[in-house]
């Protein structure tokens, strides 16, 4: 297979994966496939596609400005590539933003709700306007190929200069406003990245990295399609970028020096290591590989410089937009589904780019002179060195197959519990610890967070004036038990659980029951038609039980405890004035309550005291013995 086919197949595969993830995200919310959280509200889509992406697409305005405003006609060949790269770059960033927005269908709201004080408002307006400008700049290329609307095409070519200047004006605003967005986070962004010069730094780095991205695209095309490149010309353009990168790095370092941040840079923290990696990628590698003439004119140096700078600026932006932004100690690792959408959007952009490369005359040799006007049609070197001519659509079957297969596979591997958003953290409940304080006082700390409530069991059980029976609290007991702890059924702190352990009853290592011992034979096996627990376990419900067991769904531990305690307390509180405090939370959750595991009043080693819960296995087996006999018959 050809290089191009393999490359494209990979891109289609990623796209298939991304489509499945994207559909899941739209149907079930951001939580279903992302690891974004209340602590890290922005993830890889903003940190990789949007904020670095806009910088990497800056080549559109920089290169066209060089050609049409600074009138360096020798670069005219790259005008269309730069514009296309910018157009697709902005489209992909906008797509990522739409996927990332919680309410994507409201994306147009900044157009009608004006907020001049918001940097993001400014950025959204500019991106919308600049996308239009880029569209108008690029549309002559397909129009020329199809021959449609020749007047529109010629008009756009004639007034290209206006579009170019507009493009520069709009880009200046939003490239810097992207930096402005992070001025409001001085308490979150790491000091090595926070600076009041962020808007200026963002603009300069975009100007520098834009042309390098164009060069990288040219290099990629030349490799994919085995074409010769104009090394000298590209190297000159790259050198200009390297000089701007140097200015960027110098401003950054001087700014750091003024604010005395070099101490942090040499502190040896992981952040300072990342800072130096960034400096290496943005400054040292590109500048060294382009500084010497001999190296500059080698393809290897160009590759190295462009890749290094693109990665470096990408890392710089990702650091500001995410990695160095949260100082809460929260960690964020994107899920493979988030990454797939990120890469999928890029893949789509690259596929569209390659389509245009193969389909349109991106490599006009002749510079479009706006002065030449309508009459003279731009001339193209159709047999030029890189233009590929109209291709036959090859490999449709391969690409479709790859897309469908990866789409199906990824749909299958998206975890069901994430789709259902059951991201519930289970909080197991533990037994109350008793008999360690004076009398029979229990220490109740269900969720093991070290904050316990004292419960005087003796007082509640044997105070005749209260007239409390055991059945008020112990309304249901484990087989052959009369005082099962609340935790044995209310096993989860915040969510209801099924008190009936179905799998244990069916398991050979448990009760070894066959299905028909509980469910009627020949019917669907449902909870409704199963035998009632009390048919086997006669002693399950005590005779004096006051709470009726209607189903075996046990309330959450917190609800159960509050339910059983608070109700009585409120009734008691209503009885007399001097007991009024009984109904209030502080009667149990008082300042006297045992506060921490380490420093609690009675010096308990709580973890040692609370062993894991062991079921009374022998008793369980005894209690199900009658059922066993049924099996034998």
């Amino acid at each position: 297979m050809k290089k191009v086919t393999i490359f494209k197949s990979v891109l289609w595969a990623i796209l298939g994966f991304a489509l499945a993830s994207g559909i899941t995200r739209m149907l079930f919310g951001l939580g279903s496939i992302t690891n974004q959280s209340d602590a890290t509200p922005w993830g890889i889509w903003k940190g990789m596609n949007v904020i670095p992406g806009i910088a990497l697409a800056a080549g559109g305005f920089v290169v066209t400005a060089v050609i049409y405003i600074f009138r360096r006609h020798e670069y005219a060949r790259y005008s269309r590539v730069a514009v296309l790269l910018a157009f697709l770059g902005y489209l992909s960033a906008a797509t990522a933003l739409v996927v990332e927005l919680g309410l994507p269908w409201m994306v147009w709201h900044p157009v009608i709700y004006w907020q001049h004080h918001s940097a993001l408002f400014e950025v959204s307006w500019c991106v919308i306007l600049y996308l239009m400008v880029l569209f108008l700049e690029f549309i002559p290329v397909p129009l020329e190929e199809t021959g449609w609307f020749p007047k529109v095409k010629n008009f756009l070519i004639k007034y290209k200069l206006v579009l170019v200047i507009l493009g520069v004006m709009i880009s200046t605003l939003h490239q810097s406003s992207l930096g402005t967005m992070f001025l409001i986070t001085p308490e979150k962004l790491h000091p090595l990245w926070y600076s009041s010069l962020l808007p200026i730094l963002f603009f300069i780095s975009a100007v520098a990295v834009g042309p390098l991205m164009v060069i990288l695209a040219v290099l990629t095309i030349s490799t994919l399609y085995n074409k010769v490149i104009e090394k000298e010309k590209l190297a000159k353009l790259a050198l200009a970028s390297a000089i701007i990168l140097t200015i960027f790095s110098v401003i950054r370092l001087v700014d750091m020096g003024i604010h005395g941040k070099f101490g942090i840079a040499f502190s040896g923290s992981w952040q300072s290591a990342i800072f130096w990696i960034e400096m290496l990628l943005v400054f040292f590698i590109p500048v060294i590989s382009l500084a010497f003439k001999k190296m500059r004119y080698s393809t290897g140096a160009l590759w190295m410089a462009t890749i290094s700078a693109v990665l470096g600026i990408g890392l710089h932006r990702a650091n500001i937009a995410g990695i160095m932004l949260t100082q809460t100690g929260a960690t964020y690792t994107p899920t493979i589904f988030e990454i797939s959408i990120s890469l999928g959007i890029l893949s789509a952009a690259i596929l569209a780019f390659l389509f245009c490369v193969e389909r349109f005359k991106l490599w006009e040799v002749k510079w479009e002179d706006p002065r030449e006007g309508l009459e003279s049609k731009p001339q193209f070197d159709r047999a030029g060195e890189v233009w590929l001519g109209t291709p036959h659509i090859a490999n449709r079957t391969v690409f479709s197959a790859v897309l469908i297969v990866t789409f199906a596979v990824s749909l299958a591997i998206i975890p069901y519990n994430r789709i259902k958003s059951e991201g519930v953290v289970k909080v197991d409940v533990r037994e109350a610890l008793g008999s360690v304080m004076e009398g029979d006082t229990l220490i109740i700390d269900g969720n093991r967070d070290g904050y316990a409530v004292k419960f005087d069991h003796n007082y509640h059980a044997y105070n005749d004036s209260l007239k409390i029976t055991c059945g008020i609290c112990h309304h249901m007991n484990m087989p052959l038990d009369k005082t099962s702890g609340c935790y044995s059924c209310h096993r989860e702190m915040y969510t209801p659980v099924d008190a009936f352990k179905h799998d244990w009853h069916a398991s050979p290592s448990g009760a070894k029951l066959s299905c028909t011992q509980c469910h009627p034979d020949g019917e669907r096996k449902l909870a409704d038609n199963a035998k009632d627990c009390s048919e086997c376990h006669k002693d399950l419900i005590p005779t004096d039980a006051t709470i009726k067991v209607e189903s075996y769904d046990a309330l959450s531990y917190a609800d159960a405890m509050h339910g059983v305690c608070v109700e009585c307390h409120k009734t008691e509180a209503a009885k007399s004035e001097d007991r009024a405090k009984l109904g209030q939370c502080e009667s149990c959750h008082s300042a006297e309550r045992i506060m921490t595991v380490e420093g609690n009043a009675i010096g308990l080693d709580m973890d040692k005291a609370f062993g894991s819960v062991v079921l009374p296995e022998n008793e369980m087996e005894e209690s199900v013995e009658p059922a066993k006999e049924v099996t034998d018959e």
Binding site: Q36, S177, I184
Partner: protein
């Protein structure tokens, strides 16, 4: 302007305010989720009690800043500081960019991560009750008067009176009087409350000002860049024409 004053020394951590808040604002049951932070706030908990060794109980909620960073950040004006005090949220304008979550110096706004139609969730100081002249659900529920509602200036006076009465008991600072330009939720405390903000302190810096400095440069930058680019174009054009003329290649236009 209305405000809430929370006296940390009086709080017993009973979470009646949390329960009242949930009941009035009809928030669903809060179960721990993977995307929650450990401060108890979530899309379904607009206020929470943070336990600190001692014991100290610190109520966390939206601070309703006088110059809110979230309001400044929001690109569509979904978050607005009202004259009565609350910073309120209008879900019908929201686009879900979550820039407010990035901007907030207290990390207050939370998100409906498990919903296909998600909104920002945060305390609105029971603005509907305020309009009717009733105090917020949380302060009315507090059994010990640890969190009280009133006029901001009077609450600051009250806070300072309490501190001066028992100077040994309190840290000599009304939290929220000047922080990030002042907030409508004030605290006095016997335990350092710096943990409520992020580790790098903004101090008394008014956060929206940082953005405004740059944003006010936008119109001149836009016009200026246009002028500069047009100027450069004419200079370069002239240069080419002179060059062409010198080479005898054509006439000067």
């Amino acid at each position: 302007m209305k405000a809430i004053l929370t006296d940390v020394t009086k709080c017993i951590g009973c979470e009646e305010c949390v329960a009242a808040c949930k009941e009035y604002n009809k928030l669903e049951e809060n179960v721990p989720r993977a995307w929650h932070r450990d401060d108890g706030l979530s899309a379904r908990n607009w206020t929470s009690i943070i336990h600190k060794p001692g014991p100290h109980y610190v109520r966390k909620q939206c601070r309703h800043c006088l110059a809110p960073a979230c309001e400044s950040a929001c690109p569509v004006g979904a978050l607005i500081k009202t004259d009565e005090g609350p910073v309120i949220y209008d879900g019908s304008k929201c686009i879900g960019c979550r820039y407010c979550m990035i901007a907030c110096p207290y990390g207050i706004p939370r998100y409906d991560w498990d919903s296909a139609v998600p909104y920002i969730q945060k305390c609105n100081m029971c603005v509907e009750r305020l309009k009717k002249g009733i105090e917020p659900a949380c302060t009315s529920a507090c059994p010990t008067g640890a969190t009280i509602f009133g006029d901001r200036d009077e609450l600051i006076k009250e806070a300072k009176r309490r501190i001066s009465q028992e100077p040994g008991k309190y840290i000599n600072k009304v939290y929220g009087e000047h922080d990030v330009g002042g907030t409508s939720v004030l605290y006095i405390s016997d335990v350092d409350l710096d943990f409520l903000t992020f580790p790098l302190k903004s101090g008394d810096k008014v956060l929206p000002d940082t953005t405004m400095t740059a944003m006010s440069a936008v119109p001149p930058a836009f016009i200026g860049m246009g002028a500069i680019m047009t100027g450069i174009y004419w200079i370069c054009k002239r240069r080419d024409e002179v060059k062409q003329h010198d080479n005898g290649g054509g006439e000067e236009k």
